[in-house]
């Protein structure tokens, strides 16, 4: 028996979380029990080999801090301007998963997008929420998913009814508080039959520096793509340098639905992110184009899952990692194809570029292919910049630093191509910033 330290147990659900219908309260209580009764994962366990689970435990007394960095106001103003110019359908500011401010474009009517707080949606869209919430990320998913499931205060609900195309992206800004804060944001997206939407999910803020009091953000994302739907989900993690991030993302693609997932990560001190798509209907397709660029002493631990639950489904992952200084990254990518899921195609590629000697990357492809009637490939590389490429560019007069920048920019280009116009300038800026002092 593992004895649990009382300090890291979730106490009684606080009164402010005791609202909403009984089924929701029951879920919270069950999640709390799951968390409290499950041991802290052992380091040798699958998915915990690379990151200390103790990083994501919160003290009983840990407060939710609502003090935010003032300089995020710039981002908010810029996105509000995008919204005003008609380049966004909606812009949502989510402070610590508590205070959620929704700004919708005048051009978008509520028969195309329904976007609200999760606490409102529990009442106003009871059936949809009841059917989907907790069905992909819940108390059984894992200890820290149980933590979010018990403690989320408020979340974001996005519902696109059948047959609607949302032309411009919906941008979410999830802001974390400063030192000692703990937040449990939650997102539920339901995309109706033959509907289309792009969602940009941006995580910012958190502790500025690494210390014993680093902020924790434990986020849960559930996405449902109904028959023939097309969903693009861009996750941009650009938290401050002392932030700890735990993200559980799961999506379901029904028949002929396509889901594009673009995980991008530049920030945080310790960042453990888990992106997974289940292909649930024939013709469903999932593509993931990931990029992380770490520096300093950042630690990244990314897991992706492509689960082919039925046949005639396709998946493709291309996850790119660039590291410098003493940053480190572990990538584990699981492709699971069920025995009954014949005629599937699944591809996985993970390339790691190390810009100096002090950084470290690991890559582990995991294939669970239970039938032979599939086309499947995977590839992984870890290495420094190719000196021949550097020489080639130098031979044309380009100095070593610019040559390096050029090669790295080329390396990440394929991923950046997937980024919607709203982020077209922003993302290369993050890359450029990392490349400033090489």
């Amino acid at each position: 028996m593992t004895t649990q330290n009382q300090d890291i147990m979730i106490p009684e659900i606080t009164p402010e979380l005791k609202r909403g219908p009984q089924w929701l309260q029951d879920k919270r209580t069950a999640s709390k029990e799951s968390y409290n009764n499950s041991p802290i994962p052992r380091r040798g366990l699958h998915l915990w080999r690379y990151t200390d689970p103790a990083s994501f435990v919160v003290d009983k007394d840990q407060v939710v801090d609502t003090a935010f960095r003032a300089n995020l106001n710039y981002t908010i103003e810029a996105e509000l301007a995008h919204l005003k110019d008609g380049n966004l359908s909606a812009f949502v500011v989510d402070k610590s998963g508590r205070d959620i401010e929704i700004n919708s474009s005048d051009n978008v009517t509520s028969d195309v997008i329904i976007i609200s707080t999760l606490s409102d949606a529990v009442e106003s869209h009871f059936e949809i929420v009841n059917k989907h919430l907790y069905s992909l990320v819940n108390n059984e998913t894992g200890k820290f998913e149980a933590m979010n499931s018990a403690l989320w205060n408020d979340g974001i609900f996005i519902y696109i009814p059948d047959g609607k195309t949302v032309e411009q992206p919906i941008h979410l800004l999830r802001e974390s508080g400063l030192d000692k804060s703990a937040q449990f944001p939650r997102l539920l997206v339901v995309v109706g039959k033959n509907s289309e939407v792009t969602i940009i999910d941006e995580y910012a803020g958190g502790s500025e520096t690494q210390s014993d009091n680093m902020s924790l953000t434990n986020s849960a994302v559930e996405i449902f793509g109904d028959i023939d739907s097309r969903t693009r989900y861009i996750s941009l993690q650009r938290n401050s340098e002392g932030a700890k991030i735990y993200l559980a993302h799961r999506a379901n693609a029904e028949q002929n639905a396509s889901i594009l997932t673009v995980p991008l990560a530049f920030g945080g001190a310790i960042s453990k992110q888990n992106f997974g798509v289940t292909l649930n209907g024939e013709g469903a397709d999932s593509k993931m184009y990931g990029l992380l660029f770490g520096g300093g002493r950042q630690h990244y631990d990314n897991h992706t899952l492509h689960h082919h639950a039925v046949g005639k489904t396709t998946s493709d992952i291309n996850f790119k990692v660039v590291l410098k200084d003493k940053a480190n990254s572990a990538y584990t990518g699981l492709i699971r194809i069920e025995n009954s899921a014949k005629v599937c195609e699944a591809y996985q590629e993970n390339r790691n570029l190390l810009l100096n000697k002090g950084c470290k990357a690991e890559t582990i492809p995991e294939l669970e292919i239970l039938n032979e009637d599939v086309i499947c490939s995977h590839g992984a590389t870890i290495g420094p910049l190719d000196p021949e490429m550097v020489f080639f560019l130098k031979c044309r007069g380009i100095n070593e630093t610019d040559a390096t920048r050029m090669i790295v920019s080329g390396f990440v280009e394929a991923t950046l191509k997937q980024v919607p116009a709203d982020l077209k300038e922003k993302i290369p800026e993050f890359v450029a910033k990392r490349l400033e002092d090489i």
């Binding site: 190719d386 000196p387 021949e388 490429m389 020489f391 080639f392 560019l393 130098k394 031979c395 044309r396 007069g397 380009i398 100095n399 070593e400 610019d402 040559a403 050029m406 090669i407 920019s409 080329g410 390396f411 990440v412 280009e413 394929a414």
Partner: protein, 253 residues
Amino acid sequence: MSDKKPILEFKDIHVEVEGKEVVKGVSMTINPGEIHAIMGKNGSGKSSLSNALMGHPSYTITKGEAYLKGESILDMEADERSRAGLFLAFQYPLAIPGVTVANFMRAALKSHRGADADMSDFRKLFKAAMTDLSVDQSFATRYINDGFSGGEKKRIEVLQMSMLNPAMALLDETDSGVDIDAIKIVSEGINRYQSENNGVLMVTHYQRLLNYVKPDKVHVMMDGKFVLTGGPELALKLEESGYEWLNEEKTGV
């Protein structure tokens, strides 16, 4: 010595790769307007020489001197040699995924002109260079050498040369892996570039390219040394008789 300063001059160059000496003391003087060719079998050291002259970090020059327009280049990095006017067209041009030909070419030209240079003429120059070398305009937005055929790669190399307009061009096996139509286009490009003010050094196994670009001097390289130097007729003799007679001659001496 003629009164004009040589474009490229090197003396007693020795080159080591991974501790093994592959070039064993070679010298050459290329005056403005001259086209030279180095011919030799695979492994004779001719590619090692051109890579070493360009400053490839794996090719160490252990002894000798090299001057570009009278200026010593051996302490320069490759990018400095390029900006000083030296150019190397690669035998196997490398693919750089994600970097478009246009962006690369712009950066290269900018590095030659200086950081604050006006680049407003770039698009026009680039388009003209592409037309000259029968390169489809769509190549501007393709990634450098990524999925290019052998001929396309070599044409893009010559395009880079024509835009940077170097004082001295080293062309390493520019005729290898190329069909006859591409050879014509590539050699026309070389002839357009070539002038009374610059120098060309072609490194080649075969005499094929030399039908189109006429060398003033041919140097035959064997086992890291120049064993014979002559006029264009030497290239023809090598084409007819191969390199074996040289072996006999050499061992005979």
